[in-house]
């Protein structure tokens, strides 16, 4: 797979490298570029002995989400990732990286597998979002995502997530409840696609560029918010120098796995609980609000009667 991804220095057929300052909308287009490396490209380059594990043991296998065992950075890990295609045929087979409930149930099953064998988890996030469809609703798309979130939150092994392309809403987060969240410079991560947001709030999907701007979906902004732990630079957009990008992502993942190992020694029986507690603390603090202290003395009005 890596051979087909040899770095090309010739001009890309699509005008994908914007000139001037890169807007949020430019990043959306970069993140969606079909030539950008996808999960299996990362695994082909970074993983040794990758054994793909299929199926949710209940309904089917979802090719839009791949998972399996592999050696990454000198240790065996469980890898999970959304998988888009590079061309139309592949994309149809992979459902454009839009995962169905059986995909999330496969992820959930493999996460528990990682917990059972004490394997660190590495995930690659790259999806437009969970699949909207009749079958997905019948098989409980919402519940499948929620259960994956629950299992990730409660997992006693270290988790590193890398947003490498499109971080599309709950379908992305479903494999993103991690101890370390890394993000490529031109990746985006958002509560909804800019088109969906524009359609809902502007009643006009063509306002997507404006929505992209105000939604604050770029790696730099998410790092500023403290949601992303490390931004991996893309001196050249990933689709132009895929191998360079893959190696940079690999180095960052390995560094974070090493740091997590040092901080949470796998042999220490307290490690699973410490990981859970610290992961909870990480997500627990996310949010912005004001909280005023009651001004009046005594009981609040609605409680005084009790």
């Amino acid at each position: 797979m890596s051979s087909s991804r040899a770095d090309v220095t010739t001009a890309s057929p699509t005008p994908s490298r914007p000139t001037g300052p890169i807007s949020a909308w430019d990043r959306v287009k970069l993140a969606r570029n079909p030539a950008r490396p996808h999960t299996l490209d990362y695994l082909a380059e970074l993983a040794r002995d990758f054994v793909e594990l299929h199926g949710d043991r209940s309904f089917g296998d979802d090719p839009a989400l791949v998972g399996g065992l592999a050696q990454v950075g000198g240790r065996t890990v469980l890898v999970l990732g959304h998988q888009k295609g590079t061309n139309t045929k592949e994309n149809i087979a992979r459902n454009f990286g839009m995962v169905r409930p059986e995909g999330y149930r496969k992820a959930e099953r493999l996460l528990r597998h990682a917990g059972k064998f004490g394997l660190p988890v590495v995930t690659f996030i790259d999806t437009p979002g969970a699949e909207p469809g009749i079958g997905s609703e019948e098989r409980g798309q919402g519940t499948a995502i929620a259960e994956s979130l629950l299992t990730m939150a409660d997992l006693g092994v270290p988790i590193v997530a890398a947003v490498v392309g499109e971080g599309g809403s709950g379908g992305a987060l479903a494999i993103g409840v991690a101890d370390r969240i890394l993000m490529l410079e031109n990746a985006v991560y958002a509560v909804a696609s800019p088109e969906a947001c524009a359609a809902i709030l502007w009643k006009d999907a063509t306002k997507a560029p404006e929505a992209a701007e105000t939604m604050r979906i770029t790696a730099a902004e998410l790092a500023r918010f403290g949601i992303v732990d490390e931004v991996i630079p893309e001196p050249v957009p990933a689709h132009e120098r895929p191998r360079e990008t893959i190696l940079a992502v690999g180095a960052a993942i390995t560094a974070h796995l090493d740091a997590l190992d040092a901080r949470y020694p796998p042999a220490d029986p307290a490690t699973p609980d410490r990981l859970r507690a610290d992961r909870y603390a990480k997500f627990r603090r996310i949010g912005t609000w004001r909280e005023s202290v009651r001004r009046e003395r005594g009981l609040p009005v609605e409680l005084a009667a009790i």
Partner: protein
């Protein structure tokens, strides 16, 4: 139907006081049932817990109406009333800045956020309650929603008190972007700890329940209940129709559809809700008593978890401690109260709290 509860521009700004719920009830005398088209006397509809007496159509409830219907009389103590949303993104959409929208919504709905949390007793069983108010920006989940729910779950974890969530939401709140998305992880993580502590989470899904709420805390409950004919799903029906170009099957995404596909435990009509909850809570309380946990594990002092920086709320904690200790405070379960008559009617003066 929504216009029945809240007609734009019709209401004066309401302050958060006892009369709040009362003031929101419009003075229309007659309401048309959207299902059977029967004209209903609005007072009678209210007395019938907003269930159409002719066809059993369940009208949507505001959060405080729901609390009034669920909680034993006078038992509800609200939590975290002083949390207010911020605008971390400086979000501006076609309709203007988010902060303006918040101000308008606050005035129209009389609520300060889309989730009302607190503790109450249901048939004598102490529970933590978290109830969505769909009239506040479609009960979308933003930072305050997530924070209130996480705090509620933490109090329930500490106090060994079951959590009851009542959801009706359009999903995550766009205006708070990634912060809203992360509330999905945050609320579920709080529930993971609740589960680890062996404390039950009961969820009631009501019309409509979509997106980030269906895909997070609302569906990872130990028991998932749904109201009849409530629309529940991940993606909205219009989105699915547009993308798949397929005609949606009859009854798609209704509670009955979810039951048929194994996604909910039980459909419960509004009049039967309290009795069902009492049975469930009784089972968990009984099981807990049987496990005979060490009394030192919970002294019943910390389940309100009011911010320690707030002396007035701290005061409240002490005041409420006696009531709260019911659930396993001394290693046994408080004498279960007789299941009260199922509350189907409003008090004559409406759900004023």
């Amino acid at each position: 139907m929504r216009s029945f509860f809240h007609r734009q521009g019709k209401f004066q700004p309401v302050s958060a006081d006892d009369e709040r719920a009362d003031q929101q009830i419009p003075d229309d005398l007659w309401v048309k049932c959207p299902d059977c088209k029967e004209l209903l006397y609005s007072k009678e509809l209210r007395r019938n817990a907003r269930v159409c007496p002719r066809c059993d159509h369940h009208f949507r409830l505001r959060a405080r109406e729901r609390v009034f219907l669920l909680a034993d009389d006078g038992s509800f103590i609200e939590w975290d009333t002083e949390l207010r949303p911020e605008d971390p993104l400086d979000f501006v959409d076609g309709g203007g800045p988010y902060t303006d929208k918040l101000r308008r919504t606050r005035t129209k709905s009389g609520e300060t956020e889309a989730l009302v949390t607190g503790r109450a007793t249901v048939g004598g069983h102490p529970v933590g309650l978290a109830v969505c108010d769909f009239d506040f920006l479609g009960a979308s989940m933003g930072s305050v929603f997530g924070e209130k729910l996480a705090r509620a779950a933490e109090r329930c974890t500490k106090g060994g008190m079951p959590l009851l969530t009542v959801s009706a939401s359009g999903g995550a709140r766009m205006h708070e972007g990634i912060f809203s998305l992360m509330q999905m992880a945050k609320t579920v993580a709080a529930l993971a700890r609740l589960g680890r502590a062996g404390v039950p989470h009961l969820a009631l899904l009501t019309d409509p329940c979509y997106g980030g709420v269906t895909a997070s805390y609302a569906t990872v409950a130990d028991v998932v209940l749904a109201e009849p004919k409530a629309l529940i799903g991940f993606a909205g029906p219009r989105v699915i129709e547009q993308i798949t170009k397929q005609k949606l099957p009859e009854g798609f995404q209704t509670a009955e559809f979810l039951l048929e596909h194994g996604m909910v435990d039980l459909i419960v009509t509004r009049p039967a809700l309290r009795a069902t909850l009492c049975s469930l809570l009784g089972h968990y309380a009984g099981a807990r008593a049987h496990r005979d946990l060490a009394p030192s594990d919970r002294d019943g002092a910390d389940d309100r978890g009011a911010p320690s920086s707030d002396p007035d709320l701290g005061h409240l904690v002490a005041a409420a401690a006696g009531v709260a200790a019911g659930y396993g405070a001394n290693g046994s379960v408080a004498e279960p109260l007789p299941v009260p008559t199922v509350a189907v009617g409003w008090a004559a003066d409406g759900p004023g709290r």
